[in-house]
C-alpha cells in the first residue's frame, strides 16, 4: 500500500512540475472565472430583467451586448433573461411572453419600431419599466420607455461620410446585411448625406457568409471604380476583405462595429477604419440603469438618448483594443 502511495505521489508531483505556468486553457479559465464571478455588490432583492433583441442567430455583436448585460446583472444581483428574433412579429411575441412572466424590467431594441409599439405600451401599463437599446432612439420616448441607450445611427453614418471624405474616397459601397432594419438604412443614408462622392447600397443575406462575400465580389468586379466598401457589421468586414482580394480591387474596406478580427485587420492595414458603438456598454448600462430605476427611481439622459457612439477607430488605436476584442467584450 505504502509503495503504491509513494508512486502516486511521485506521478502527481511530476505532473504538477510539468505544468506550464503561463497560457493554455487553464489561464483562460482562471481569467474567465475571475471575470464572470463578479459577486453581487448590492443587497437588493433578486429582480428579473429580460432583454429581447432583433438579432439573428449567432451574432457576435449581440454576444458582446449580452456579456455586458450579464456582467452588470452579476454585480446588481439580477436574474437576467435573453431572447431574440429577427422577425418583427416574433420579437413582439417574445416581449409579450416576458410580460406574461411578470419580469421586473425589460430591455428591448426598436429596430422595427411600429411592431414593438403595442407590446412596449403593454409593458409600461403592466408597470414594467422598459429601456430601449441599440436602435429606436427616435421612438423610445414616445413609446413610454425610460431612456434609450445606443448610437444615433444617422449621426454615425454622417461620421462615416466625413471620414471617407477625409480619406479622399470618391465612390463607396454600403453593404446592408439585414433587410428591413431601419437603423441600417439610416447609417447608409447618413453616410450618403455627408460623403462628397457617390455612395451605393448593396443588400446581402447576413446569415449566409459565402453569399455576402460573393455579392461584394461581384459588385467590385462589375465596377472597378469603387474605392471604398463600408460594411455595417464587423463579421462582414472580413468577407469584404476576401472579396476585394479575389476581385483584385484596390478599394479600402471600412466597417461599423468591432471584433477581434477587425482589430487585427486595422492593425495590419487591411481595414481603413471602424466605427464602434460599444455594444458592451449598451448591455451593461441597460441592466444597470434598470437597477438604478428600481432601486432609486433614477433615470439617465434627461429624456434624450444616452449615446455610446460613434467612435472612429483606426490602426493607431487598434493595438490597445485588440486585447479586449479577444476576450469578447469590445
Amino acid at each position: 500500500m505504502r509503495a503504491i502511495g509513494a508512486v502516486l505521489a511521485a506521478v502527481l508531483g511530476a505532473s504538477l512540475a510539468g505544468c506550464s505556468a503561463t497560457g493554455g486553457k487553464r489561464a483562460e479559465e482562471a481569467r474567465r472565472t475571475a471575470e464572470a464571478q463578479g459577486r453581487a455588490a448590492v443587497d437588493t432583492p433578486r429582480w428579473t430583467f429580460a432583454m429581447v433583441t432583433h438579432s439573428g442567430d449567432g451574432d457576435t455583436f449581440w454576444d458582446i451586448v449580452q456579456k455586458g448585460a450579464r456582467q452588470a446583472a452579476a454585480k446588481d444581483n439580477i436574474h437576467f433573461l435573453y431572447a431574440h428574433s429577427d422577425e418583427a412579429q416574433q420579437q413582439s411575441q417574445l416581449v409579450q411572453t416576458y410580460i406574461d412572466q411578470k419580469v421586473d424590467g425589460l430591455i428591448v431594441t426598436l429596430a422595427k419600431p411600429e411592431a414593438m409599439k403595442d407590446v412596449v405600451a403593454k409593458a409600461t401599463r403592466a408597470g414594467i419599466p422598459v429601456i430601449t437599446v441599440n436602435s429606436g432612439s427616435a421612438e423610445s420616448r414616445a413609446y413610454g420607455a425610460l431612456t434609450h441607450i445606443g448610437q444615433d445611427e444617422t449621426v454615425a453614418g454622417e461620421a462615416v461620410g466625413d471620414e471617407l471624405d477625409r480619406r479622399g474616397r470618391k465612390k463607396a459601397l454600403c453593404v446592408l446585411h439585414e433587410q428591413g432594419n431601419v437603423g441600417h438604412e439610416q447609417r447608409c443614408s447618413g453616410a450618403a448625406k455627408t460623403f462628397g462622392g457617390d455612395l451605393r447600397n448593396l443588400y446581402v443575406d447576413g446569415t449566409n457568409m459565402p453569399d455576402v462575400r460573393a455579392a461584394i465580389e461581384a459588385k467590385l468586379q462589375t465596377d472597378p471604380s469603387i474605392d471604398a466598401v463600408v460594411t455595417l457589421g464587423a463579421p462582414f468586414a472580413d468577407a469584404a476583405v476576401q472579396a476585394k482580394r479575389t476581385a483584385g480591387s484596390e478599394a479600402e474596406i471600412d466597417t461599423f462595429d468591432l471584433n477581434a478580427k477587425v482589430a487585427a485587420g486595422l492593425k495590419a492595414g487591411d481595414l481603413g477604419f471602424a466605427v464602434d458603438q460599444q455594444p458592451y456598454l449598451q448591455g451593461y448600462e441597460a441592466v444597470d440603469l434598470l437597477w438604478l430605476y428600481r432601486y432609486n427611481a433614477d433615470v439617465l439622459g434627461g429624456g434624450r438618448p444616452v449615446l455610446t457612439g460613434p467612435q472612429i477607430i483606426t490602426g493607431k488605436d487598434a493595438a490597445e483594443l485588440q486585447e479586449y476584442t479577444q476576450r469578447g467584450t469590445r
Binding site: 442567430d57 433573461l81 435573453y82 431572447a83 431574440h84 422577425e87 418583427a88 412579429q89 413582439s92 411575441q93 417574445l94 409579450q96 411572453t97 416576458y98 410580460i99 406574461d100 412572466q101 411578470k102 422595427k112 419600431p113 411600429e114 411592431a115 409599439k117 403595442d118 439585414e178 433587410q179 428591413g180 432594419n181 431601419v182 438604412e185 443588400y203
Partner: protein, 351 residues
C-alpha cells in the same frame, strides 16, 4: 408476406368490409390527427410542469395567438399537401399581400379597405399563377413555387424601395377605415379584454376546411388528386381546376395573414416572411399530413400549429438558454412527430 394469409372473405358469407359497422373508438383511432393530439397533450403537460408562467391565462393567450398566426396558413397548406403539392412561396406571399395593401392605400390616399380589396385580388392572382403554371408546365410544384418564392422576395424589397424609398412601408394608422380594419384583422376590445381576431379566423378556417374535406365533393377531389392524379383524372375529377383552387386557397389565407401583419403593426417590413413557409409545412406534417399527398386533415394542421406555438413560447417561459432555442424546438418537434407516428402505428394495429 405470409403464405398463410386468409383468403378474401367473399365466399365466407361475411358482408362487404366497406359496409361493416365500425365502432366510434375505431373510427377515432383511424383519424389522421390522433397522433398529433396525443403529442400536443404531451407537450402541454411538459411545459405545464417545467415552466411556472406557462399556465397563466395571459400566457396561454400568447401561446394561442402565436399558434393562430401559424395556423391560419397551415390550414390551406395542409389542404394543398393532401392534394399532393407544396407551396414554398406561402411565407413571403403573406408579406407581399401586406405590402400591396399598405402601399396602395398610402400612395392613392384611399380608404384602407380599398387597399385591402386590391391586395386580395393581387394575392389571389399570384396564387392562381402558381396553380396555372404548375398545371400547364407539369413541373414539380417545388420548382414552380421556389421560383415564385424568390421572385416575390425580390419584388417585396425592390418595389417597396422604389415606391416608399425605404425598406418598410409608411404608416397607414391615421387613414380612414383603419380602426374598422384593425378590428377585423388584428384585435378588438370587448369589456376591457383584448381579443385577437387571428384566433377567430383560425377557428373559422379550420371548421370550413374540415367541412370541405369531409362533406363536399371538392373535398373528395382533393383526396383523389393527392392520392393519384392519373387515376383521379381517369374517373372524371377535374385535376387542374382542383389544384389551381388549392393554390388560390393558400393565397386567400396569405391575404388574411398579410392584413393581420399590416393592421396589427401599421407598418410592413419588406424583408420578412422568408422561412415561414417551412413552418407551415411542418405544422401540417406534425398534424398528420403525408408529404406524398392523399392523407391528412385540417384539424391536424391546427394541432400542429398549436404544438409549434406551445414549443416556441414554452421554451421562453421555461427560461432555457436562448442559444439552444432552435435545438430544443427541433428536438420537441421531432419527439412530437415520433409520438405521432407511434400512436398511428398502434392505432392501425388495433383497427
Amino acid at each position: 408476406m405470409t403464405a398463410t394469409a386468409p383468403p378474401a372473405g367473399d365466399r365466407t358469407g361475411r358482408p362487404d368490409e366497406r359496409l361493416l359497422h365500425t365502432s366510434p373508438w375505431r373510427k377515432l383511432l383511424g383519424r389522421p390527427e390522433l397522433g398529433s393530439v396525443v403529442g400536443a397533450a404531451a407537450v402541454f403537460l411538459f411545459f405545464s410542469v417545467v415552466a411556472d408562467a406557462f399556465l397563466r391565462t395571459s400566457s396561454l393567450g400568447t401561446v394561442l395567438y402565436a399558434a393562430s398566426t401559424i395556423g391560419i396558413m397551415a390550414v390551406p397548406v395542409a389542404l394543398l399537401m393532401i392534394g399532393g403539392e407544396f407551396d414554398l412561396s406561402a411565407g413571403v406571399l403573406v408579406t407581399s399581400s401586406a405590402l400591396v395593401s399598405s402601399m396602395f392605400s398610402y400612395q392613392m390616399t384611399a380608404n384602407v379597405w380599398v387597399g385591402v380589396l386590391v391586395s386580395l385580388l393581387v394575392t389571389l392572382a399570384i396564387g392562381a399563377f402558381n396553380g396555372v403554371m404548375l398545371v400547364r408546365t407539369r413541373l414539380p410544384s417545388f420548382i414552380i413555387t421556389l421560383g415564385t418564392f424568390l421572385m416575390l422576395t425580390g419584388m417585396n424589397l425592390g418595389l417597396t424601395k422604389l415606391i416608399s424609398g425605404t425598406v418598410s412601408t409608411k404608416t397607414v394608422a391615421d387613414m380612414e377605415g383603419f380602426p374598422a380594419a384593425k378590428a377585423v384583422f388584428a384585435s378588438f376590445t370587448v369589456g376591457g379584454v383584448d381579443v385577437r381576431t387571428t384566433i377567430l379566423w383560425w377557428i373559422g378556417l379550420v371548421a370550413v376546411a374540415t367541412w370541405i374535406l369531409l362533406r363536399t365533393r371538392f373535398g373528395n377531389w382533393i383526396f383523389a388528386v393527392g392520392g393519384g392524379a392519373g387515376a383521379a383524372r381517369a374517373v372524371g375529377v377535374p385535376v387542374s381546376r382542383t389544384k389551381i383552387l388549392l393554390y388560390t386557397g393558400v393565397a386567400f389565407c396569405a391575404w388574411i395573414s398579410g392584413q393581420h401583419l399590416l393592421f396589427s403593426f401599421d407598418v410592413v417590413q419588406s424583408g420578412e416572411g422568408v422561412g415561414n413557409e417551412l413552418i407551415y409545412i411542418i405544422a401540417a406534417v406534425i398534424g398528420g399530413c403525408l408529404i406524398t399527398g392523399g392523407y391528412g386533415s385540417a384539424i391536424g394542421s391546427a394541432v400542429g400549429a398549436f404544438i409549434f406555438g406551445m414549443t416556441s413560447k414554452g421554451i421562453v417561459y421555461a427560461q432555457w438558454n436562448p442559444d439552444w432555442f432552435t435545438f430544443f424546438l427541433g428536438a420537441m418537434l421531432l419527439l412530437a412527430a415520433l409520438l405521432n407516428a407511434w400512436v398511428r402505428k398502434r392505432a392501425e394495429a388495433t383497427a
